[in-house]
């Protein structure tokens, strides 16, 4: 038998299938006219309707053809007509699938073509067809064929198919959700394209096997199809799950680009958040607890959490909230006193719901949690809250413990973006009482920075436009001073120094660093840069403030100016470095002074800088 007869047979089968369903194309012509009639009959917007009807037409055609070209003939025992002719199985199968593909494509083109021609939408480029269009059509038609054959076979195998489908979908969703938690956006072209191609390949192989080995009888056809389908899809799904597990096992050696890092008050433990690089996917980030001396590490969870894990003042413990934005956040303690840090999940006596703020008392005995509508203080390890108090509108909230162990937190009475009043809540675990101890008026969208021990709180109002900065008493909210009035600076960043003073960076036509006493009196000011840049100030060593100058916004190259905070003069400029603790993301919920000498260079490497000599030691990342 010649190839010529086989190909002729394929075309004959395809032509027969198309001619049987030619009415579908007639329907498409009618549907194509609807968007152009829409303005006259008042049923909607022409461009939107055109695209909507086109998509519906494509899906309808795919379902109609995919469910009938093979499954109907099989179920009605008509496939034998072709199998009793001298044509190979692939002619029969190929002809039928070609017809389904052509009918779907042409029906879609008929509906979408006219609206594209008048400029209602633009035809996707070639890349889209390779990534989505072609595999999507094959996958939809093939999947519908598989479902139709399974359904019409009416055997127990179909129940097994559904069970397998459920199991594999569960695996894929679970893996994808896990990846997304770790910053890998699993609903993107990078994932959807291979998934579509894998599904298209699986249903194509299954359909081909069904025809090659099952032939004209639906029961063995369905059995062969199922075996082929799951033989392809199961390893793909399990491989994806295994890959997802491997991806999430990111360690310090996998960090390519450090986002932020801060160190324990003493010792060699640091917390670092960084992005991975090839062979792990773009976007993957993790927060790791790393001992820079021994290279021991523990994964604390995905990166990009605004709740930086605090250390106790003796650096013997680090505590963090896992899955803070999930419905069931967990609290974990790392005991850093032993050689191998032991991780322990401890009770988190708060109601279900995401966590907006977290703080640990300096002695590590008490913890405070802010949620959407509740602030809670509890003894670490206890099953019960010591004290709770209602909290205003949900926002990221910085919490701080004062010297007598009470937690201070700001609560917005109104939508925090609007002008209004912030209440100062003080929760005292000793008396098990919480109270509103003071108020602060705000112009809206406030960002608070607590001073050491909660004695002072600085509030940047309307961060996004014409910001201002006020300094308040940390308990009564009484205005101590307006440090930067509205309209003076384009951007304001503030950070408290260890001695209780406040360093403020104003960005406008230039960058000015100003240092204020705890009473709001200006100690000195310094022109750091004559040109505008996005800035942060961080105390990187006792007596040394680092001012970050980020020239093109976040993620771009930064320089750092080191300033002697006693004399108010520039020590030196460090090109290509920024303070590691001043992460743009972690900064919002900052509740105390940064711990310093860690920097990130322009390659993303975490660097320990010798403030005196300027020597740089790369700790990890950057490769």
């Amino acid at each position: 038998m010649s190839e010529r007869v086989a190909v002729r047979g394929l075309m004959a089968v395809a032509a027969r299938e198309v001619s049987e369903r030619i009415a579908l194309l007639g329907l498409a012509v009618v549907v194509a006219a609807v968007p152009f009639l829409a303005p006259w009959i008042g049923i909607g917007d022409r461009p939107l309707l055109g695209v909507l009807l086109g998509v519906v037409m494509v899906l309808a055609a795919a379902v109609l053809t995919g469910s009938s070209v093979i499954a109907s003939d099989l179920a009605e025992r008509r496939l034998g007509f072709f199998f009793s002719r001298p044509v190979p199985w692939w002619s029969i199968w190929g002809g039928k699938m070609l017809a389904a593909f052509v009918l779907t494509f042409v029906a879609g083109a008929i509906v979408l073509g006219p609206s594209a021609a008048v400029g209602d939408w633009r035809l996707p480029g070639g890349g889209w067809w390779v990534r989505i269009g072609v595999p999507g059509l094959i996958a939809v038609i093939g999947t519908v064929n598989v479902l139709a054959v399974g359904y019409r076979a009416r055997s127990l195998w179909f129940a097994a198919d559904l069970a397998m489908t459920g199991a594999l979908v569960w695996i894929v969703i679970r893996t994808s959700r896990g990846l997304m938690t770790w910053g890998v956006w699993a609903i993107s072209y990078e994932f959807i394209t291979p998934a579509l191609w894998a599904l298209a390949a699986a249903v194509t192989v299954a359909g081909a096997a069904q025809m090659a080995r099952g032939r004209a009888d639906i029961t063995p056809s369905h059995r062969v199809m199922s075996i082929a389908l799951w033989a392809v899809l199961t390893p793909v799904a399990l491989g994806y799950a295994a890959w997802g597990t491997w991806v999430q096992r990111m360690g310090p050696a996998d960090v390519r680009s450090v986002l932020s890092a801060w160190s324990a008050p003493k010792g060699s433990w640091i917390v670092v958040t960084g992005r991975a690089g090839w062979p792990r996917p773009e976007g993957l980030s993790a927060t790791l607890l790393v001992n820079t001396s021994t290279q021991q590490f523990r994964r604390l969870g995905p990166g990009f959490s605004p709740l930086r894990p605090p250390f106790t003042s003796d650096a013997m413990r680090a505590v963090w909230v896992s899955d803070p934005f999930g419905q069931k956040p967990r609290l974990t303690v790392a005991d850093l006193g032993s050689g191998e840090p032991a991780l322990t999940d401890v009770p988190l006596p708060v109601p279900p719901g995401s966590v907006r703020g977290f703080a640990l008392s300096p002695d590590g005995r008490q913890a405070a949690i802010a949620q959407d509508a509740l602030a809670t203080v509890f003894a670490l390890g206890s099953q019960q809250a010591s004290v709770t108090f209602p909290l205003g509108s949900g926002r990221l909230s910085a919490i701080v413990f004062d010297v007598v162990g009470r937690a201070h937190v700001l609560s917005a009475r109104q939508d925090f973006l609007l002008p209004g009043t912030l209440d100062i809540l003080v929760l005292d675990p000793a008396t098990r009482k919480g109270s509103v101890t003071g108020h602060i008026d705000t112009r809206g969208n406030p960002l608070e920075v607590w001073g050491p021990g909660g004695e002072r709180v600085a509030v940047v109002h309307r961060q996004e436009r014409r910001p201002s900065l006020t300094l308040h008493d940390g308990t009564t909210g009484a205005l101590v001073a307006t440090l930067v009035p509205e309209g003076r600076a384009g951007r304001i960043a503030a950070t408290f120094l260890r001695d209780g003073r406040l360093a403020v960076v104003e960005s406008g036509s230039g960058v000015i660093l100003r240092v204020f006493s705890a009473e709001g009196a200006e100690s000195w000011s310094l022109d750091v840069s004559p040109t505008y840049s996005v800035t942060r100030a961080t105390e990187v060593a006792p007596g040394v403030i680092a001012v970050e100058l980020s020239f093109r916004g976040r993620g771009s190259r930064s320089d750092t100016v080191l300033v002697d905070e006693t004399a108010g003069r520039v020590i030196r400029r460090e090109n290509g470095l920024r303070p590691a603790a001043s992460s743009w993301f972690a900064w919002r919920a900052q509740a105390g002074p940064d711990d310093g000498s860690l920097f990130v260079d322009d390659r993303g490497a975490l660097v320990r800088l010798d403030i005196v000599t300027g020597a740089r030691q790369v700790l990890l990342g950057g490769s």
Partner: protein, 247 residues
């Protein structure tokens, strides 16, 4: 190519079929020599249709094999079908096509195809050429299937109960005009049927299936001589559940 069966148009070698735990055919072996008209008989559910599906390469045997012209039909189905004509028990042509379009479609599936002869045969059967296949009577459908199976002048015809549901006139037409004519031309024929009277005049050999086993495989003359009974009685005796093997 099997040297032993190369010249034999059709043979079954220890063919068995099981559906799960159900045995449909058990160790069936027979062959149909060239030019022979072989009538395969059996009561309903004896396994005839399953056997025919194996013989035309549409179903795989659980064990054993079906061989056409010395080649395994499961493996070489497409090539072998160029030499074989098949008439199924249930008409399976695309229902929306007219006989005229069916002739055109089927012709494109064969390397050699005599369209004129096929149309002439349909005319002789008085088939309306532009009526959709689905709207034809059962007899007309059978006639169309038969005409389509003959369009490439097959060396072997396999007919699965082609007269099932036909009236007496149509049955006579099938047997006397078509099968008789084919037999006269030397075409090898395997036919399954319940119409014992009709095959009595044309069959050379007869095989009888009982509960999946081939219990009789002899020339029709020898069977009639041995039993000295009408074929209906022989069939009833041989295929009844209480009968022993008569092979």
């Amino acid at each position: 190519m099997n040297a032993g069966t190369e010249g034999v148009p059709l043979s079954c070698e220890h063919l068995s079929i099981r559906y799960g735990g159900t045995r449909v055919l058990e160790d069936v072996s027979f062959s149909v020599p060239s030019g022979c008209v072989y009538a395969l008989l059996g009561r309903n559910g004896a396994g005839k249709s399953s056997l025919v599906r194996c013989l035309v390469g549409q179903q795989r045997a659980t064990s054993g094999r079906a061989v056409l012209f010395g080649r395994d039909v499961w493996r070489d189905r497409a090539a072998l079908m160029a030499r074989v004509g098949v008439v199924p028990e249930e008409p399976d042509a695309p229902p929306e096509l007219s006989p005229a379009r069916l002739v055109a479609l089927t012709g494109r599936l064969y390397p050699r195809w005599d369209e004129a002869a096929t149309r002439e045969r349909l005319r002789r059967f008085a088939i309306p050429m532009e009526t959709r296949f689905a709207r034809l009577s059962k007899g007309q459908k059978g006639a169309v299937q038969l005409a389509l199976a003959l369009g490439h002048a097959p060396e072997l015809m396999i007919l699965d109960d082609p007269t099932l549901g036909l009236d007496v006139v149509a049955r006579d037409q099938v047997f006397s005009e078509v099968i008789g004519e084919l037999a006269d031309r030397g075409t090898t024929i395997l036919i399954t049927t319940h119409d014992l009277a009709a095959i009595e005049g044309i069959a050379d050999r007869v095989g009888m299936l009982r509960e999946g086993r081939l219990v009789l495989d002899e020339s029709l003359e020898a069977v009639k001589e041995r039993y000295a009974l009408p074929l209906e009685r022989i069939f009833a005796d041989v295929t009844s559940a209480s009968a022993g093997g008569a092979r």
